[in-house]
Symmetry: D2
Subunit: 331 residues, 4 copies
């Protein structure tokens, strides 16, 4: 951590700061020069840079270290591998697919069969749906989870579904992976609660989250003891409105460099239109994603939510083949 | 609601759609021409535009009506006035001020006195602090609320503080206004829970929320029966990094046109630097904001969170005088 | 074009508008209903929507047609193929590579050899460099063009280089493709001038240009008679700062759907770091790009501009092989 | 300038770099510590940070100095005052107003009278209009300039109009202030050309320009010898689409702190709707802007460009009175 200070800062003030930092196991060196600097080392991720910045003699603060000691690859070189059913996130390329929302027993069973047939390894399906408007379908709740789990068991697929509040946790006992949606990426109460479980967590990037903020949300989970965290890029909000969000493909190699956690991509929510899902999915695989989470529906035109972006079973199967064809050609 | 359809759409398909809509009290008219259109009227806010868009004969859907029947000014012309202590949001210009976080009894009492002296009408102070990093000060929790309420009572000021999870609600009994922070603007479980209380809610705009999404989050509160909602613009995330967020000043007149709810501004979180707070506060007042929420600290350089953006009591008092001086000159 | 009007708009006013439009070969139909609409058809791309919006009885205007009659695929279904040397943009996958700036005869000749060896089909090299700061290297100008052309001839590669002002045109006689940079995408004087030449134009998307604005800039070239326009996505400006720009991968399928012009990608300027170039290049190819423009340098660490994002000849050759390996697997 | 280097960097390599820098009058100090740093001082604005970043032993580079030695307030504490007719930019609050485009003699004369009557000090009017679509009105060109100058002379108002290409310069002889539009903020050929004139230049911020990039464009003008540069904030492109651009009010105090050049605001292009112009104009004045540039039209509904955002003469006069009323209340 670099702290630029005013050239003629009083030695006594610096001495006071040094003592304070020492109590937090942080070393401070002064570097005379132009500009004058303090170099802080040790567990500096514990420092709130804003507090230093507010000191009257401080000009600016720049971090040179990761602020995520647990999520960072600096201290954990090997990929974390998270095995769920037959799928090993962080080692194998994993395809998660299924409907935006569980709508009925018939629908989710048909979806499960189609996902299995397409070579998908995990079944998705929303039960508690965060929707921008309070007037549209909000998911089947507890019943949706039961139908999803049952359909997954039948098809031999582990399941993933979104949790939106700590109080729902008892309902997720048989769910294999718990999803934290983009809107809840900084719902820290939820993260703290999930960090205390032993379930794998699929954490989606918030619409306006920087990669550092994304990793810090993962850090909340890791800090509580749950190190089975899967990161999911799903597009960021930009000025361009022809897509629902702008898929940040560069986030894939950047995250893989920064962290040991698995990185997958949801091309469906970024796209917003079914015809854009295959090119975004292929692009994600080519950029090094470790998996995909794709929305499909046995009858896309009848979907009760996010219908325009759902693939049919046939298109999913074709996409799955194309993705698996390019994987061996990649670095 | 305008639905563009393919020119040669089968009449039977349209008939089916018309019946479906009729069940939801929505009228459908067909308008032959170039392009061919369906005009939907009635309670169309209940429709999920995505579902229409997914129909095979639909080309595009455009809303022409508000999707927020309760928050919209269309059906509720008069300003909603929310009285808290001596402050009447929606009628008077209200200044809320106080520290980012309650740190100690001494600190919050000093802050309360300074706010009162500066002419502020409501005391703020965080107890449950959502922080980007899990390693920095997260607030005093329940104790913080007690200290805040006590300091407010002593100074004769109602208090506002942030709630981050439904389970905390019992602790907020004596809190006058409950704040929903930017990160939780789309935490719908929290909104539904707060919508069932009779407390005024101060709802902050999310960092990447459009104004429509912001109003729809207010609609969640209103739909549950709580119509005492105060909207707070606090800056949006853009490419510019010299400020913490870009204050969207135009949001003030746009929101005032769209909704009957009071609209205030938090210039501190947008600014990120104390020297920027007064110009942004004055700009907000000049653009028609109905109040301000400003971070101050009895000793800014010792603040335990968001220190660089906190004003001293003296600067707050000066700013308050300047703001009140320009108000009579405005339209 | 849909024009929403006030319900009780005076018939005389509409009659006046209809006559005005008739003079521009535009038909106007009135569609009674809720809302009341005017449907405009014919050459409506010639209309300035803002002028309609300003009429006192108009509520809103929505375009339903392309505003780019020449660039649009609506009237020109087949891909435009642009042949330059052995490369056929719009039919074959074309790799353009070379240094950010021509620095010396030796450097550009070494680059040309490396590009040829890597299987590149076009040599790039900047001579007139638009640089954010006036204090850094601005390119060799006319001499740079001579060296580039000569190196290209020797290696058997056509060349592309950027033009930044109409007055430079005489210097570009032997240049095969003229590049318009992102900063000049809306330099309409330059576009008008280049539209009158018979040279292929490589037009880069501006940092904050929507796809419609991008196509309208191409339309300026086409309208003047030059239909040999190659579109190049190169990243947009967003809040994320870990990359120089956010590559908008979805722009590839969206542009290919909207226009008959070839669409290629520059992954280097989006990346800003060499290690990000290969994943972004592969992602672009996988998403359906028709080619790549990649910065390379015989000795990247000695490059005089954009050094951090330049690939070495070896890395370029490897990337080129990987890209060509995945192409046959794609839809 | 801070350069982080690898801990065990070879002394010989650093020696080589030090010599290189010495030739450019830049001192280099090595600061051992964690991390290891080089501190560069002297005329470091001349350095291209990217070149340092590309050196194999460099980890990162951070600027701590302004990159705009001429525009920066560091070396030029006093405000630059630019007098044009009776208006003194940088000292007095200056209101520029007039139509988006000069349309006819009658229109611009009526506009000039209205501007004068409203207390405006400078008349604006576009003659060379950069328009997103090639199919809409592009301005009257040379004739527009003649009409504008004549109308200004009659009304006793200096005039400002946009120049879009160096070749137009001879036509601007009698124009008092030359405007560089947002789209041309990084048209460096144009900037270099205008930097050689002795005319005041009104430079608009580009839609996606950071404040540093904006100042660097001003630096191009200053470097050529023209120090009469007026900066104009006019909104940036963000995800919010209810306004044409998001007015960055914080840019006003930030620019005033960073530079000695006058800073004014164009609220009309940010707003896009006439009803938003007064609140944005008042906000800008309250935030410390040194003037305004407002679009007005004698008959707004008949304007040939940007009609929806034009104020009538009456509204302009009212706004002008309100703005001048709040000025004395400000810090």
């Amino acid at each position: 951590m670099l702290v630029r200070i005013q050239t003629h800062t009083d030695a006594a003030q610096l001495q006071e700061l040094a003592l304070l930092l020492q109590n937090q196991q942080i070393r401070m060196e002064r570097c005379e020069g132009d500009p004058t600097l303090l170099l802080l080392s040790g567990d500096t991720w514990m420092l709130d840079a804003a507090l230093l910045r507010a000191l009257p003699f401080v000009v600016d603060v720049q971090r040179t270290e990761s602020v995520c000691p647990l999520a960072s690859r600096d201290r954990h070189r090997e990929n974390t591998v998270i095995s769920v059913g037959g799928a090993a996130f962080g080692r194998d390329f994993v395809i998660i697919a299924g409907p935006c929302a569980v709508e009925s027993e018939e629908q989710i069973r048909a979806a499960a069969r189609a996902v299995k047939q397409a070579g998908g390894q995990v079944l998705r399906g929303g039960a508690f749906k965060p929707r921008t408007s309070p007037y549209v379908f909000q998911g089947l709740g507890a019943k949706g989870i039961r139908l999803l789990v049952q359909a997954g068991r039948e098809a031999g697929l582990p399941v993933v579904t979104e949790i939106t509040d700590p109080s729902q946790l008892p309902l997720f006992d048989e769910v294999d992976i718990l999803q934290v949606g983009a809107r809840n990426m900084q719902n820290y109460e939820l993260l703290r609660c999930l960090g205390k479980t032993d379930k794998p967590i699929l954490l989606k990037r918030g619409l306006s989250a920087t990669l550092t903020e994304f990793l810090l949300s993962a850090e909340y989970l890791l800090k509580e003891g749950n190190n089975r965290v899967i990161l999911c890029e799903r597009g960021i909000r930009t000025f361009e409105t022809e897509t629902r969000a702008t898929l940040d493909v560069a986030a894939i190699p950047l995250l893989k460099k920064a962290t040991h956690l698995p990185v997958i991509v949801d091309p469906s929510h970024a796209a917003g239109h079914a015809f854009l899902v295959p090119p975004l999915a292929l692009a994600s695989a080519a950029a090094g994603a470790g998996g995909l989470m794709v929305e499909m529906h046995p009858q896309p035109q009848n979907a009760r939510s996010d219908a325009p972006q759902a693939l049919s079973g046939e298109v999913l199967a074709l996409l799955s083949r194309q993705v698996r064809a390019i994987l061996p050609c990649l670095p």
